[in-house]
């Protein structure tokens, strides 16, 4: 096995961590849909932390190993159209996803504090765990990352 094979494997594992994390957050969002319960939200914080670690590692891994691969392989160049498209889509998806995480993170932190203090419900939690801005950011980020995957497989113009 060559170094390039290892880089490709790490790139692929990172992509699995990234999309896997998005799925985890989808499961959480559906499970907590329209809830205002602070204890329910707080109980899923461990899941959220695992998802956050996976999405961070996956985002960094895909871009670092992806660019490394494009530089290292003779068949592809970083300035190939499909590679540039992937980088641009990745950057937009990452930023949109960060905004989703900000919204859900804020509500999750508040839920944790209120649950500890014995307050069972929260208007912020109710507002966030529905069709909120954070929800739409998450949906948009998911679509964008799937577009990156499509771009990676079809490699238009390659």
């Amino acid at each position: 096995m060559s170094l390039n094979d290892w880089i490709l494997a790490l790139h692929l594992l990172s992509a699995f961590a990234l999309i896997g994390a998005l799925v985890i957050f989808w499961i959480m969002i559906v499970a907590l849909w329209n809830t205002d319960s602070t204890t329910r939200v707080a109980s899923l914080m461990t899941v959220s932390r695992v998802g956050t670690v996976m999405i961070a590692a996956g985002s960094i891994g895909t871009i670092v190993f992806g660019i490394w691969l494009a530089i290292s392989l003779d068949a592809f160049q970083v300035w190939d159209g499909w590679v540039i498209a992937a980088i641009v889509l990745w950057a937009i998806a990452a930023e949109v996803g960060r905004r989703a995480g900000e919204g859900y993170g804020e509500a999750g932190l508040e839920a944790g504090k209120l649950a500890e203090a014995g307050t069972p419900t929260s208007p912020l939690v109710a507002e966030t765990f529905g069709a909120s801005r954070a929800f739409w950011f998450h949906a948009a980020s998911s679509v964008l990352f799937v577009l990156v995957l499509i771009d990676m497989i079809w490699k238009p113009g390659a």
Binding site: D5, T39, V50
Partner: protein
């Protein structure tokens, strides 16, 4: 070599590959969610809900994703290798982890279902451990699909 194959991959392979990869990615996410909800520490009042969530993650997301992944894999295999008897090692790893993973997924589903229905804490944890074993196998498969060891 892998880069060469990727560059020369016929267009007709792309959709089966997409189906296979997307199914596998969703499966990994669902299994991870099930493992964390089964094995993570949680308040007593939320235990039943967590067991239910683990079971539903496996049943409603993990199982359909597994089927999609497997259908995509067979479709891709038929295009890439056809009737060849001499499979490369990475294909062997893929088949072993997929078949063993299916068995573990089925056992985990049954145990998680009973744990959720009968409120059995230890059985719920067992389902989490079994799912974790399947997940380890699938992660090895992802590595093999990328690194393609001889």
């Amino acid at each position: 070599m892998t880069s060469l194959l990727a560059a020369l991959r016929p267009d007709s392979w792309n959709f089966p590959l997409f189906v296979h990869v997307l199914g596998a990615m969703v499966l990994v996410g669902a299994a991870t969610a099930a493992v964390v909800t089964s094995l993570g520490s949680v308040a007593d009042s939320e235990r039943d809900r967590m067991r239910r969530l683990a079971f539903r993650s496996l049943l409603l997301v993990g199982l359909p994703a597994y089927i999609v992944m497997r259908v995509g894999a067979e479709w891709m295999y038929s295009k890439e290798f056809g009737d060849t008897d001499d499979d490369p090692t990475w294909i062997g790893i893929g088949y072993i982890t997929a078949d063993l993973g299916a068995l573990l997924l089925l056992i985990a589903l049954i145990t998680a279902g009973i744990a959720s229905w009968k409120s059995k804490t230890r059985l719920g944890k067992a389902a989490g451990v079994i799912t974790a074993l399947a997940l380890i196998g699938w992660i090895i498969a992802v590595w093999a699909m990328g690194a393609k060891p001889d």
